[in-house]
């Protein structure tokens, strides 16, 4: 039995479910305790001990069915397909159509990864319609072939969310696929580092003033007593509670479709550099699909990430952006997990390609967000022309900024960070900040070289190697 379990674990690992040796031991112990009568019970026992993530459950079920049907091809099949069991199976997020694919793709782990908890309902529809093409074709051979074609041609296999977040597997994927799209040259990266470093310097200077904020809080009674014990309990020295100082939280949604691709690339690069230094950023990219790339941003070299995005391993780059769908998916998948009133930055042109607007999601976003900032490369006059929904979406945001150059983008982000910091600062510091800001504004005319106001007539873009700062 141990050997079978070990091989099953290997199959799970191959498909991206991480199972530790300890969990394997647990599984063996559980099987010994729970007995192995019935396929359903064994599956439950294995699942309880080995799958620790809700999103992995459908994948696990699928692998279980394949793996054990290979070993015992004629046992217990109807056990999990029985009509009484179906509602339960559906409830657990398993798709009933998986059964139809049972013998498809035995040796390719790739397409297998397509199934994850929240698949695009459209995909489901399409898959279903495919099976309906020829309902009386009993052997189903043709259907399977068609499906293979469908997956290979129309869509790259979409990995599970955990899978995309894993740099190692990305590395493997990298060897296949065509090179295209935009990466940054070393000079550009250096220039970027420079822009960011200067931004950091400016910000740090302001932040230093707030350092005393650290220990300003309520009286810490116990510490005060302990400290003053030597003074016979007369509180000469007062100990205050440390205030938990948190990095400002930021959630960024970047459109990566062609129309704004340069802007979003820059944005990602900016975040990549800023991440962990002073921010707690969660980053998402979208065009028609939305996917989280936070961990990849933190763990991968930036050029690899750009390549991965361009190759369409995360979202399909050939799709048109659809803000309505994206908002809806974002709400259903991620909005619940957003913590601590972050500031949202959405980068996109608001061109919805005539899809459903779904602007009510932004209303819900507002409740979670400290601040919503929308960055668009388009001028205000075009906001309601054609399929552009900027006027609609803009009304939900705290601020909509038109950014056309890299410098403008940098400034907007810096301004936002400043505001966030100021927001969390002690009232005294806030006053100080406000004064410095006013002073800066007063002499901004001779500040040109230090703090370039992008729209100002005389300002030269500091960062424009390759002429990309206009998009």
């Amino acid at each position: 039995m141990e050997r079978i379990i070990a091989r099953f674990v290997a199959a799970l690992r191959e498909s991206g479910i991480r199972v530790s040796p300890g969990e394997t031991l647990d599984a063996v112990q559980a099987l010994a305790l729970g007995g192995m009568e019935g396929r359903k019970l064994s599956r439950q026992l294995l699942r309880l001990t080995m799958v620790k993530n809700h999103n992995d459950i459908p994948l696990f079920n699928d692998i279980f069915n394949r793996f054990f049907s290979r070993f015992k091809p004629d046992e217990g099949e109807d056990d999990h397909r029985g009509p009484t069991d179906l509602p339960l199976v559906n409830m657990e997020g398993e798709f009933s159509y998986l059964d139809q694919l049972q013998h498809d793709d035995h040796d390719e782990p790739g397409p297998l990864l397509k199934f994850h908890g929240d698949m695009d309902p459209e995909d489901l529809q399409e898959l279903k319609s495919l099976t309906e093409i020829d309902p009386d074709d009993s052997d189903g051979q043709e259907i399977i072939v068609q499906m293979k074609g469908y997956r290979g041609k129309a869509k790259a296999p979409r990995p599970t969310r955990r899978y995309t977040q894993n740099p190692l597997t990305m590395e493997i994927n990298k060897s296949t696929g065509v090179q295209r799209g935009i990466t940054f040259s070393p000079e550009e990266q250096a220039a970027m580092q420079d822009v960011v470093a200067r931004m950091m310097l400016r910000l740090r200077k302001d932040m230093r003033r707030m350092k005393n904020d650290q220990s300003r809080g309520k009286l810490h009674v116990i510490k005060t007593i302990r400290k003053n014990y030597r003074n016979d309990m007369i509180p000469f020295q007062v100990a205050l509670r440390r205030k938990r100082r948190e990095k400002p939280r930021l959630v960024v949604l970047c459109d990566v479709s062609f129309s704004v691709s340069h802007a979003s690339r820059f944005m990602l690069l900016l975040l990549h550099t800023l991440h962990n230094q002073m921010l707690n950023v969660r980053s998402f990219i979208f065009n028609r699909e939305v996917a989280e790339i936070t961990e990849m941003l933190a763990n991968m070299p930036v050029n690899d990430l750009m390549e991965t995005i361009d190759k369409g391993d995360i979202v399909d780059p050939d799709e048109n952006s659809s803000f309505g769908t994206v908002f809806l998916n974002f709400k259903s998948r991620y909005l619940e997990n957003i913590r601590g009133r972050p500031a949202f930055i959405i980068l996109g042109d608001g061109r919805n390609n005539y899809g459903e607007a779904n602007d009510w999601v932004l209303d819900e976003l507002r409740e979670k967000a400290r601040y919503i900032l929308w960055l668009t490369p388009e001028e205000r006059e075009t906001w309601s022309r054609g399929d552009c929904l900027m006027e609609t979406y803009g009304s939900y945001c705290d601020k909509v900024e038109v950014v056309k150059t890299v410098e403008e983008l940098g400034q907007v982000v810096e301004e936002l960070l400043r505001d966030i910091y100021a927001d969390q600062a002690h009232p005294l510091d806030r006053k100080l900040l406000r004064e410095t800001k006013a002073a800066e504004a007063a002499q901004s005319s001779n500040y040109q070289d230090y703090y370039t106001r992008g729209s100002g007539s005389g300002s030269q873009p500091a960062f424009d190697p390759g002429g990309r700062s206009h998009w």
Binding site: G22, L33, Q44, L48, V51, H54, I57, E92, I225, E336
Partner: protein, 300 residues
């Protein structure tokens, strides 16, 4: 010897209708002495399971409600500084006498050092929920509720407690659990729980129950509600869950609604009744509109 069916039966006596997955998880947790991590949408009975287990197994329930900023002083143990200070003050004269016997300073310090453990003894230790459940004479049920609200640091703190059922206190050494408590962690998934913690637990996902089980739950809690009505309302709520509501009605809403309908002595579900009681099942203005629309379509 407990079996899965046995678990199901005694949970039922505790007023909790479990499905196979839940029963198996509880069975394994009891036999393997491992914690269960339960995830699922709010209101499907995650905490309810812990309560039902505690009453059915007669394990005292020790509950730890997590929140942002919870630390070991709130969850494991704390020293009672006030009491320590008070004791040293009161014992001052005693100490003078005790130390005056010694010939020189060095001896006095040594004498005092030998008694140091007096001041860091269990006498001055405040037991917080986790330590309390570990030291309980009877096997207890430790419920760590809404673990996703706590910070990462607290999760790391839990690792030792959950894998070895022991607490390390620097001044006292390692304290092991007298009886390993049955541990249940719940999470609403507002934050990803680290893999390290997941690895130490059995993982159970509780979703919305299927029709028969939900009806059974309603019937157990409100036996006076007629079966037809129970079926109707559960069916209606299942449709409402598919409406893409901001807060989909959960099992707890089902039970609230069943209670309301019992009080109103309703015998049949009509769109009028739904309209009058919609506040029980929908908690947002937009949701209320959607649910009343659904009622008009479904019930006429």
């Amino acid at each position: 010897m407990i079996t899965q069916q046995g678990v199901k039966d005694f949970l039922q006596t505790g007023g909790y209708i479990a499905d196979d997955a839940i029963a198996t998880a509880v069975f394994l947790a009891l036999r393997m002495e491992k914690p269960i991590l339960i995830e699922g949408p709010p209101g499907v009975g995650k905490t309810g399971l812990a309560k039902a287990l505690s009453s059915a197994l007669d394990f005292p329930l020790v509950r730890l409600q997590c929140y942002e900023g919870i630390d070991e002083g709130k969850a494991l143990y704390d020293w009672e500084y006030g009491k320590q200070l008070l004791y040293t003050q009161l014992l001052r004269t005693q100490l003078d006498g005790y130390l005056s016997v010694s010939a020189d300073l060095r001896e006095a310090v040594e004498r005092l050092a030998s008694e140091e453990s007096l001041f860091f003894s269990k006498n001055f230790l405040v037991q917080r929920p986790i330590l309390r459940s570990f030291l309980s004479e009877k096997r207890s049920l430790l419920l760590i509720d809404e673990i996703d609200r706590s910070d990462d640091e607290f999760e790391a703190l839990l690792l030792e407690c959950l894998s070895d059922f022991q607490v390390s206190i620097p001044e006292l050494g390692v304290i092991e659990a007298k009886r390993k408590p049955l541990t249940i962690l719940t999470s609403n998934g507002t934050r990803m729980i680290s893999d390290a913690l997941r690895r130490r637990c059995l993982y159970l996902y509780i979703g919305y129950p299927e029709l028969e089980r939900e009806v059974a739950i309603v019937r157990v809690k409100f036996p006076e509600l007629c079966e037809v009505l129970a079926g109707q309302m559960v069916g209606f709520l299942r449709k409402a869950r598919e409406l893409n509501l901001r807060k989909p009605p959960s099992v707890s809403e089902t039970l609230d609604w069943a209670q309301v309908l019992t009080i109103m002595k309703a015998t049949e579900l009509t769109s009028e009744i739904v309209a009058n009681t919609v506040g029980v099942i929908a908690k947002h203005q937009t949701d209320i509109l959607k649910v009343t629309d659904l009622a008009r379509q479904e019930l006429g």
